[in-house]
């Protein structure tokens, strides 16, 4: 009986090890590959025998990658700020006030989050060109609202609804206007929810590809995902894999640090957005 239990334990930890290797290995391999210079890249070695930073230098000299990172930061941060601002007031209305058409509005918001991006591509292209925002970061910020806004509104509405009613009642009895109620009563309580939704919106904007590919033209205006997808080396036939891996590591590490710091919040945000929705 004890042996059976021991074998069971052993099998269990083997399973755990498999899961870890499976999830972590591809990224580990990217790091290892990015540290191999020259022909070292073409030998399968699970540990780089003489690590070199050539690929990391190559990324920044081969294309305006620094500029691409800056673009991504500007776009993602703006998207987060704008969508949180719009979503907080909207979530107050949807979560705390009974009015006609609220159910319909929530349904509209949820439906928009299901839109395939390609379904709005031609209309969005026309709109962005008409606004004179083609090949412009503002155009990207505006278009990203289509996927961050429904999500932030939805999660914040769920959060708002669960706050105790007494808080608001006390403020209203004191004669506070709805705006004061939002900014003075709810906003201080919403810190955790704002961090979670903001982070998820940031990641979504940081990773977006289709709009960034379609609405920018020059190397200088590209965001990171587009830059990484379009890195081309000197040779027409072989991609500069070392540079691509280095670029991949550069943009992923900050993201992973954020995710590790806020992992509990992210998990609760994901489940609030999906399980409860």
């Amino acid at each position: 009986m004890r042996i059976r239990k021991l074998i069971g334990r052993l099998f269990f930890y083997l399973l755990v090890a498999c899961i870890v290797v499976y999830t972590v290995f591809p990224f580990y391999w990217a790091i290892v590959s990015s540290l191999k210079a020259g022909s070292g890249l073409f030998q399968v070695e699970f540990w780089p025998s003489n690590p070199a930073w050539d690929n990391y230098v190559g990324v920044f000299t081969g294309q305006p990658f620094g500029r691409n990172i800056l673009n991504s930061v500007v776009v993602s941060v703006s998207v987060v700020v704008l969508s949180l601002f719009l979503a907080v007031t909207a979530a107050y209305s949807l979560g705390r006030i009974q009015f006609r058409g609220r159910g319909t509005l929530l349904m509209v918001v949820l439906s928009v989050s299901m839109f395939p991006q390609v379904a709005v591509l031609s209309g969005m292209f026309e709109l962005i060109r008409w606004l004179g925002l083609y090949n412009n970061l503002v155009g990207l910020i505006l278009s990203y609202m289509i996927f961050t806004l429904p999500f932030t509104v939805w999660v914040l509405t769920t959060f708002m609804r669960e706050l105790p009613k007494e808080l608001e009642e006390a403020a209203i009895v004191d004669g506070a206007s709805p705006w004061v109620v939002i900014t003075r009563v709810f906003l201080p309580l919403m810190g955790p929810a704002l961090v979670t939704t903001g982070l998820l919106a940031f990641i979504a904007a940081w990773n977006e590809f289709l709009f960034a590919l379609s609405f920018t033209l020059s190397n200088e205006m590209r965001t990171v995902p587009v830059a990484i997808a379009l890195i081309t080396g000197n040779s027409q036939f072989e991609s500069p894999w070392g540079n691509i891996m280095a670029a991949s590591v550069i943009v992923t590490v900050p993201l992973l640090v954020l995710v590790m710091i806020f992992q509990r919040k992210i998990v609760s945000g994901l489940t609030a957005g999906a399980v409860k929705g």
Partner: protein, 326 residues
């Protein structure tokens, strides 16, 4: 999708006054002044969000659907003629389009199924008590957080036909006897794409299932263990029925996501016909071939499919909007 008017001059439903917040303050006939003020504020606060949504979602969608009935080109969007259903006719007789539809459906069904099973196994494992569980859950978030484009490139390198680590490992283990061109071989590439998607999105599935598992009452399992019931039986008779609602939502979420997949195929295999999804096909027509009318028709078709799925989701998921989606 138009911005609603700010003046809330609705006829009142009889129950509303009672359910609204502290309406007892003023005993005005009908509804209180406070309630009315709050309703007006509600629309005022909603207006900016709704205006932005109308601008970036409603309007472009309407224009896309409109373009699908025209012969507009990207070169000059303004000069176009109404050509009725001609684009849809061409779409219906284009074998490449049907290939894209098939690719997308095949991709969605296989990858979501594998992700569900795999996600379930991993979630059950992580749900067990063991040291370092938090660390494991953090590791699960790695594939989820990595941008799809980066995942595609990372795997593209691992799939490399000459220097790829996957060929190396598979040769070593004996799964294959000669190196394979995972990306270039049209019979393999769709599976290569599916494998990347499974790797990237299983964590999402795992976390959702894990969240559902942790809400389960412990007493049931205690009772089952005391009665000496086989764990496999417990899983199918107790666990699965209990987490089924959450699981259904997760599956539908992932299916909707998989049906609109674009970046994975585009980065990994370009516009290759063997893997092109509906989104890839539509974008190629729209941007590369500049055929906005035809590309919009394809995009509209995809939109209709997703819309149908969304309706199913809302009915099956029994999302109750007045309760706030609980």
């Amino acid at each position: 999708m138009t911005t609603p008017s700010v003046t809330p001059s609705f006829p009142q439903r009889p129950t509303e006054g009672a359910t609204a917040t502290p309406a007892t303050v003023a005993a005005a006939p009908g509804i209180s002044r406070l309630t009315r003020q709050r309703r007006r504020a509600a629309w005022l606060f909603l207006a900016p969000m709704l205006a932005v949504l109308a601008l970036v979602a409603g309007w472009p969608l309407a224009r896309t659907i409109y373009f699908s009935f025209t012969d507009a080109t990207l070169y000059d969007l303004e000069y176009h003629e109404f050509i009725g259903l001609l684009n849809f006719y061409y779409l219906a007789i284009d074998p490449q389009w049907w290939r894209a539809v098939w690719n997308t459906v095949f991709f969605a069904v296989i990858s979501v199924s594998v992700e569900t099973v795999l996600g379930m196994i991993i979630a059950l494992t992580l749900n067990a008590h063991m040291p370092g569980r938090g660390l494991l859950r953090a590791a699960m978030l790695i594939p989820w957080a990595i941008p799809t484009v980066v995942s595609a490139q990372m795997w593209g390198w691992m799939y490399h036909d000459l220097y790829g680590v996957i060929n190396e490992i598979f040769l070593f283990v004996g799964l294959i006897d000669t190196p394979r061109a995972w990306i270039a071989d049209p019979s393999l590439s769709i599976y290569a794409v599916i494998a990347v998607d499974v790797w990237k999105t299983t964590p999402f599935m795992t976390l959702l299932i894990l969240a559902a598992l942790q809400l389960l009452p412990g007493e049931v399992y205690e009772a089952a263990r005391v009665d000496g019931i086989n764990p496999v039986k417990v899983f199918f008779k107790v666990t699965l029925p209990l987490i089924k609602p959450a699981l259904m939502v997760a599956i539908i979420f992932r299916t909707l996501d998989a049906l609109r997949i674009f970046d994975l195929m585009y980065v990994l295999t370009g516009n290759s016909r063997a893997t092109a999804s509906m989104s890839v096909y539509a974008r190629q027509q729209l941007v590369d071939f500049q055929d906005v009318g035809y590309g919009s028709a394809a995009a509209t078709f995809l939109f209709l499919i997703i819309a149908a799925f969304t309706v199913i989701y809302i009915t099956v998921g029994k999302v109750n909007f007045d309760q706030g989606g609980k």
